[in-house]
């Protein structure tokens, strides 16, 4: 069998175009990497010192925690979370998490933007935690 490549030019051109398109996100973003954002805590959050879990756990696993919370609250009607230190929390994104972290733009959004994730929690859960604070007083 003769080893010959038909339509060599077309194939090579096609491959080059494919590689360029497939790697587009990499070279398009070259040099644009933003520095890791620094989180700002509200005074209330600072005063609390520790969140529901340790900071490292929260950083890595807050989404799983929230997922667990929402299933527990909505589907099993369990609304109380007692952490390993015996402190209990009302499992509520709107009323517990955002009560301390009422600076959504500086706390939530910064990191989410950096990680390029767009959770749609705020489509339903209060998007303006400042208003929440005021309403309570």
């Amino acid at each position: 069998m003769p080893r010959q490549m038909y339509d060599k030019g077309k194939i090579v051109a096609g491959l080059v175009i494919f590689v360029i398109i497939a790697t587009f996100p990499f070279w398009y973003n070259i040099g644009k990497a933003a520095p890791a954002p620094e989180l700002k805590l509200t005074d209330k959050a600072k005063a609390e010192k520790e969140c529901v879990m340790s900071v490292t756990d929260m950083k890595a696993g807050h989404m799983q925690l929230l997922d667990e919370w929402r299933d527990e609250v909505v589907r099993s009607a369990n609304r109380l979370y007692v952490n390993s230190k015996g402190k209990s929390f009302n499992m509520s994104l709107s009323n517990t998490c955002l009560d301390c972290h009422s600076n959504k733009a500086d706390f939530c959004d910064k990191c989410h933007d950096y990680a390029s994730v767009r959770p749609y929690c705020w489509d339903c859960h209060i998007d303006n935690p400042k208003a929440t604070e005021e309403a309570k007083e």
């Binding site: 890595a60 799983q64 589907r75 009607a77 007692v82 390993s84 709107s94 339903c124 209060i126």
Partner: protein, 276 residues
């Protein structure tokens, strides 16, 4: 509870692996064990004040609700508490008569002939003919909406409440076809356009477009020991309690009054009773 804790540990374990990131695998396992130790005594449970029942039920005494004026505060209390959008608010920039198609209601009023179409008769007595009836989700004992939902986004809770999990709803609207009471509304558009910031109850989430919603029997209030908002606003015209507790207020009322239910013949077991 046990299974919940296990599930949580699993989740924590996986997230621990996530933290490990570039660290050697061995290290990751070590940190997973640490996690487990830390989370071993996490507890997830109900609030002590939470009200519980086998099947929550409601008795609406129509003798105490004579006019539209009597119903208005009840409806308002519910819709405010739960951030139900008012798409027919004429002051809203998005107002359009056609919005009627997209109306969202949890509890509203109907004439007798619409609330009870199978019991209606031409020669109805004047009182019933002109009496406004409160209608809402019946929290059926045998709910067709729960039967048809392809994702268990609507489900029957232990205490009999037929609840919506808005996070899970795919918006197929099968439940709306299945409900024989027209109790369900669909968010054809973003509801937030119709909830004024100052009216919004920050303690209760709004919904997003593309999901079905309906009355939740104030599950969030029962969880902290409060009666449903409509009951509280009704000045004693609406009683709420456990249908299977012979001592409950609803059972006392059912024992001493003749009550009717909507489309009882369909076998859905509606839990809203009307004293007429």
């Amino acid at each position: 509870m046990e299974s919940n804790r296990r599930k949580f540990l699993k989740v924590a374990g996986i997230s621990a692996l996530g933290i490990a990131g570039a660290k050697p695998v061995l290290n990751a396992f070590a940190s997973e064990q640490e996690e487990e130790a830390q989370h071993a005594d996490v507890e997830i449970r109900k609030n002590e004040k939470a009200l519980t029942a086998r099947q929550w039920a409601m008795v609406i005494d129509t003798r105490k609700l004579q006019s539209e004026e009597d119903l208005k505060p009840i409806i308002e209390a519910c819709h405010k508490t739960h951030n139900v959008p008012d798409v027919m608010d004429t002051e809203n920039a998005e107002y359009d008569e056609d919005n009627q198609r997209h109306v969202i209601k949890w509890i509203w009023e109907e004439e007798y002939k619409h609330a009870f179409p199978t019991k209606s008769t031409e020669f109805l007595d004047d009182r019933l003919k002109n009496l406004p009836f409160l209608v809402l989700c019946n929290h059926c004992e045998n709910p067709p909406c729960v039967r048809v939902c392809p994702t268990k986004a609507t489900f029957k809770r232990e205490d009999g409440i037929v609840l919506m999990d808005f996070h899970r709803c795919i918006g197929c609207r099968f439940c709306m076809a299945a409900c024989p009471y027209g109790s369900r509304s669909f968010n054809f558009r973003d509801p937030r356009e119709f909830i004024k910031d100052e009216d919004r109850n920050p303690e209760f989430p709004t919904r997003m477009k593309g999901v079905v919603e309906k009355c939740n029997f104030c599950a969030e209030r029962l969880a902290v020991g409060k009666q449903p908002a409509c009951v509280e606003a009704s000045n004693g015209a609406i009683a709420f309690g456990d249908l299977y507790d012979p001592e409950s207020e609803v059972r006392q009322l059912l024992k001493s009054n003749y009550t009717i239910r909507r489309k009882q013949g369909l076998g859905t077991g509606p839990a809203i009773y009307y004293i007429v």
